[in-house]
């Protein structure tokens, strides 16, 4: 007996297939059996921009794999923004907190329409038991983040504020920028304070450096949008 697949059902089926393929792309380094176990247990989330995924101090419900879109993570202390991290496709959120059994150390908010795969803690544990290799995959994510943090630390100690902000502009443009006729546009609607916490410099310095770069004609500013006009110069700095 054949089942008639209606158009909407087919569209739904097709969407599910595409999502599954995407997740499988980010998990490509996993063993096939472990990959399938992850895909069977993952909850797919599609969130509009400016949606809170979790808040600093929340209990950790699992790990989130970003499939598409952009997410900002913010750590604040007494209302003062201390650290900002941007996550894009392939980033894993909440893994550090999960393993150290702490509460969420940062809040996460979507910046664009974002799709995530959520692996809840009990499901993850079930997968660990059957497929310990998933742990090695997660460790690779943790190590990569550790490496980034250490590099940032050395830069914070030895590079001047202007150079660090310029590096960050180029890095963010590479990950999240959109090519326009004017140059690569960064449209993440980050405030001056968020740029400051992303780089680890004072908000006043952000304004000063951005205006200095604009005066030189290397970037263009309009509201919270930033265009990289002279990428070559920015990359050499």
């Amino acid at each position: 007996m054949s089942t008639l697949i209606t158009a909407p059902r087919f569209a739904e089926y097709y969407k599910r297939m595409v999502r599954a393929q995407e997740l499988s792309h980010w998990l490509s380094s996993l063993e096939p059996a472990a990959r399938e176990a992850v895909m069977a247990r993952a909850h797919m989330l599609a969130l509009p921009p400016h949606t809170k995924i979790y808040a600093q101090g929340d209990p950790v419900d699992g790990i989130y794999i970003v499939l598409e879109g952009a997410v900002k993570e913010l750590a604040a202390d007494e209302g003062c923004l201390r650290l900002v991290r941007l996550a894009g496709p392939g980033s894993v959120l909440g893994a550090g907190e999960l393993f150290s059994e702490s509460l969420q150390t940062m809040s996460a908010v979507t910046l664009r329409p974002t799709r995530l795969a959520l692996l809840r803690q009990p499901d993850l544990h079930a997968i660990f038991v059957e497929h310990p290799s998933i742990l090695l995959w997660l460790m690779r994510q943790l190590s990569a983040r550790l490496w980034k943090l250490r590099t940032a630390l050395v830069e914070t100690v030895y590079l001047e504020s202007a150079a660090r902000l310029t590096h960050k502009l180029v890095e963010v443009a590479d990950r999240f920028g959109e090519r326009t006729s004017q140059g690569v546009m960064i449209d993440l609607k980050l405030s001056r304070d968020e740029w400051a916490a992303l780089v680890g410099i004072a908000p006043e310095t952000v304004s000063r450096v951005l205006h200095d770069l604009e005066r030189r004609g290397w970037i263009a500013l309009q509201g919270r949008k930033i265009w990289l006009i002279d990428e070559e110069k920015l990359r050499v700095t």
């Binding site: 907190e97 393993f99 660990f128 460790m139 943090l149 050395v154 914070t156």
Partner: protein, 252 residues
């Protein structure tokens, strides 16, 4: 601003000695919970290595063939910065791991390691250990926890470096060193040069020397050649505590 207490967590109790060498005070806590047979299996993967004082163990950017467990002595993990500058990421002593974070990410050392004192260590090959981890998820989970805690420490250290004064950074470093290597009398038992201290705190050597002098003058510490004794930990904590940063696993 209300004074916040600085929390420096005590280190986890070590696992029983794995190597079976007499006089060993125990191994990293990530090996806790292994039965005798698994311990033997791990022991069979180990190779002994020895280094003199101030000798390179591995270099940043070179292939990582495995990781080290320090048996005796101390070593520092160093990251190269722009224009030949360097930052000491941490100091590891007996029972601790060196180079374990590169087991998973393509096998290149992301920092250099150099001994401070004559050091004996055990080396385990990368493939052998990954295979061992797959068969011993408890150790894999404990290692994941260790890396995750270290990650949070570096996150805290990054915030600290971006926003805190040199004095606060140095005070925090001294307290962390005393927790890890200090005697009951507050003497830090590690031969760490002023330059090393500066590179750990992320400040210039001149600032480190000046700030240490200032702390000694205020009666917070005593300096005897390379030895540093903490005299007033509470006052140091006050200096170090404007940020509620917990220094956890291996902040040093």
């Amino acid at each position: 601003m209300a004074h916040k207490r600085l929390v420096i967590q005590a280190k986890r109790p070590k696992s029983p000695p794995i190597c079976g060498v007499e006089g060993c005070a125990g191994c990293s806590w990530i090996f806790t919970g292994l039965d005798e047979k698994s311990q033997q299996e791990l022991r069979n993967l180990m190779r002994s290595v020895e280094y003199g004082a101030d000798e390179a163990i591995f270099h940043e950017g070179t292939p990582a063939f495995g990781f080290f467990i320090i048996c005796s002595g101390k070593a520092k993990l160093i990251k190269q910065g722009p224009a030949g500058k360097r930052q000491i990421l941490k100091i590891v002593g007996p029972g601790e791991l060196l180079g374990e974070e590169n087991l998973f990410d393509g096998g290149t050392h992301t920092a250099s390691a150099r001994t401070i004192e004559p050091t004996r260590a055990r080396f385990i090959k990368r493939e052998d250990f990954l295979d061992f981890l797959k068969r011993h998820p408890t150790v894999a989970l404990q290692l994941a926890e260790k890396v995750a805690r270290e990650l949070q420490s570096f996150q805290a250290k990054l915030i600290e470096t971006a926003y805190e004064s040199c004095r606060a950074r140095l005070a925090r470093l001294l307290l962390a060193l005393a927790t890890q290597y200090g005697t009951a009398e507050g003497e830090i038992q590690a031969h760490i040069s002023r330059m090393d201290l500066a590179e750990m705190a992320g400040i210039s050597t001149e600032t480190a020397i000046r700030t240490l002098g200032e702390l000694e003058e205020r009666g917070l510490i005593a300096l005897k050649r390379r030895k540093i004794v903490i005299l007033d930990a509470a006052a140091l904590e006050e200096l170090a505590a404007p940020l509620p940063v917990e220094t956890i696993e291996n902040l040093l």
